[in-house]
Amino acid sequence: MLSTLLNNSEEAVAIILFGIGFTMLLFHRNLIRKLIGMNIMDTGTFLFLASMGYITGRKAPIVTNGVMELDAYINPVPAGLVLTGIVVSVSVTAVMLALTVRLYKRYHTLNLDEIYKLSKHQMEDR
């Protein structure tokens, strides 16, 4: 069990990071910390993908010195997925930060519990 974990240490770390990020996003009351948690969660997934896609000793699949064997190169798809994932993560973070700014301007706090309390006082009928 332990040796399997040690052999796959990168994957294990990635899953731990995912867990940390997930609990932060779920349980932290501070919006900025929630967002940091979300980024850690996504990074965990990207680390998992990147480490799974890399095979020691092989190169990126760009033919420069005439080597045509398949064994010399790694599969480029996981790296492509990571890049796509990063783009998605960046845009989601941007939108969430914009929302956070809007909430802060209105309620002058980043704590979600306090925002709920404040919003109850000024609830409108509609």
């Binding site: 995912f18 989601v92 929302l99």
Partner: protein, 478 residues
């Protein structure tokens, strides 16, 4: 140069009519040929490239989603003009178009990672159409909605990555072959179960299955009517459709039957039905009531998935369609009732509102009857299908449970909806609010409600046609 808001609306409607026509063409084509077809994007064939796959079921879902989308845009236009600043109308329609694209991509795609990307686009656009109306707690509701959705997307991405890790493919058909091999060898089975569990949890959170349904009232209650209709009847349903697609096309029914996921979904679905209906009973605001009832309807769909088998999935998909046409009708009618009651959605102010705006009252009653499950309307057919599916499993305990849940929920639905109908048709004792609003005749609302009611009646009276389509779609789905 930016389009003006009205021009953007016209283009959106044109674009959606075109999509309805094209989806109908695909439906006709797949029905007459009886086969699905695959379109290879770019020039790379199966294990490498990206694919679109069209079958009867995808076409049916796309067609009905687009009809509901068009009706929501048309029917909510007048309120959109009031709720949103004129300078932002064109942006709103940009979001609606982006959302349409995401919905379509999620419906047609045959590649699981494309599914993920468009799922995120759908999340962002649904947040956009929510916060565009700046009143009350929309921003807070949007933040809450986004946080849960991000948790769901994170889990979904992890599930996709784990599946990619053990199968080595992203195209659904290739994944299915690899998974069948894994299931036969029983070597990576725990990881397979884990990844399916993570993926299902992610999509369940995003669609609002029972313990994760608490964002619904705020989200649907404060959004502009078009957004509320689209979010409740299309967005959450498209996540469920993606889940069904993954179950059928990636995991395979045989492998899925060995996992306990179906039973868990069924139990959570039943809890959702009861809790959603009880919460709706306590709501003091008509939109919050409709939102809680949406939580219950999501429960129905998951119950169908949990019952399993072709009959269970047919019932689930039929209910997706039935609820889409019913709930959008309700969400388009409630603001009109509110408009003649001093712009208040509170029950106490809505007293007699249907007498002041008779058209909206009539459409609300039709929607309410369909939700309760009165014969002739679509809600009745879907309840019948759920009962039939449960009876077909041959499991007595399941049959008794499903029947009990259906009976209790119909009773609860009848309690809160009939109460509302009586309230909006009773003259208020004290006057004052009654004269606050004037009825505006708006042809868009009439047309879209008419279309939605006829779709509802079609699903109710000719349910066998829809069921045949869904079943033939499911047979070419896997």
């Amino acid at each position: 140069m930016m389009l003006s808001g009205k021009a953007a609306k016209r283009y959106t409607i044109l674009y959606e009519c075109l999509l309805i026509f094209l989806s109908a063409c695909v439906l006709w084509f797949t029905c007459t040929t009886g086969k699905s077809f695959t379109y290879i994007m770019g020039e790379f064939p199966a294990p490498w490239g990206n694919e679109i796959r069209a079958g009867t079921l995808e076409a049916l879902i796309a067609l009905s989603f687009m009809i509901v989308m068009l009706c929501s845009v048309l029917g909510g236009w007048r309120f959109l003009q009031i709720d949103i600043d004129e300078s932002k109308w064109n942006l709103y329609f940009t979001l609606i178009n982006l959302m349409t694209a995401a919905l379509m991509a999620m419906t047609w795609t045959n590649d699981i990672f494309t599914g993920y990307v468009f799922l995120e686009i759908l999340t962002l656009t649904s947040c956009g159409i929510l916060i565009v109306r700046e009143i009350g707690r929309t921003t807070l509701a949007a933040v809450r909605y986004m946080i849960l959705n991000l948790l769901g997307s994170g889990l979904f991405l992890l599930g996709v990555v784990l599946l990619y890790d053990i199968t080595g493919h992203l195209l659904m058909m290739n994944m299915q072959e690899a998974i069948a091999e894994i299931a036969a060898q029983k070597e990576n089975l725990p990881i397979l179960t884990l990844s399916v569990g993570v993926l299902t949890t992610g999509l369940a959170i995003k669609s609002g299955l029972f313990p994760f349904h608490f964002w619904m009232p705020d989200t649907y209650g404060y959004a502009t009517p078009t957004s509320a209709a689209v979010l409740s009847s299309l967005v959450s349903k498209s996540y469920i459709f993606l889940l069904i697609k993954i179950y059928y096309r990636v995991i395979g029914m045989g492998v899925l039957a060995e996992m306990p996921i179906g039973r868990i979904l069924c139990a959570l679905g039943m809890c959702g039905i009861i809790f959603g209906s009880v919460s709706a009973l306590h709501a003091d605001n008509i939109n919050r009531m409709a939102a809680f009832s949406s939580a219950a309807q999501i429960g129905y769909v998951y119950m169908g998935i949990g019952i399993g088998g072709t009959a269970g999935y047919t019932a689930a998909i039929f209910h997706i369609l039935a609820h889409a046409v019913t709930k959008s009708l309700l969400f388009l009618s409630t603001p009109r009732l509110a408009a003649v009651s001093g712009n208040s959605l509170l029950f106490k102010n809505l007293q007699g509102s249907a007498l002041r705006d008779r058209t909206a009252g009539m459409f609300f009653v039709i929607g309410a009857f369909s939700m309760i499950g009165i014969p002739v309307f679509s809600g009745f057919s879907s309840k019948l299908l759920f009962a039939g599916a449960a009876a077909g499993t041959g499991n007595d305990r399941m049959l008794i449970l499903v029947m009990l849940v259906l009976a209790v929920s119909s009773l609860l639905n009848a309690m809160y909806l009939i109460r509302t109908v009586i309230r909006i048709y009773t003259m208020p004792v004290r006057t004052g609010i009654a004269e606050n609003g004037r009825v505006h005749h708006h042809s868009g609302y009439l047309i879209s409600s008419g279309v939605l009611v006829s779709a509802n009646l079609f699903l109710g009276l000719f349910s066998w046609m829809a069921v045949n389509l869904i079943q033939s779609g499911l047979s070419m789905f896997g």
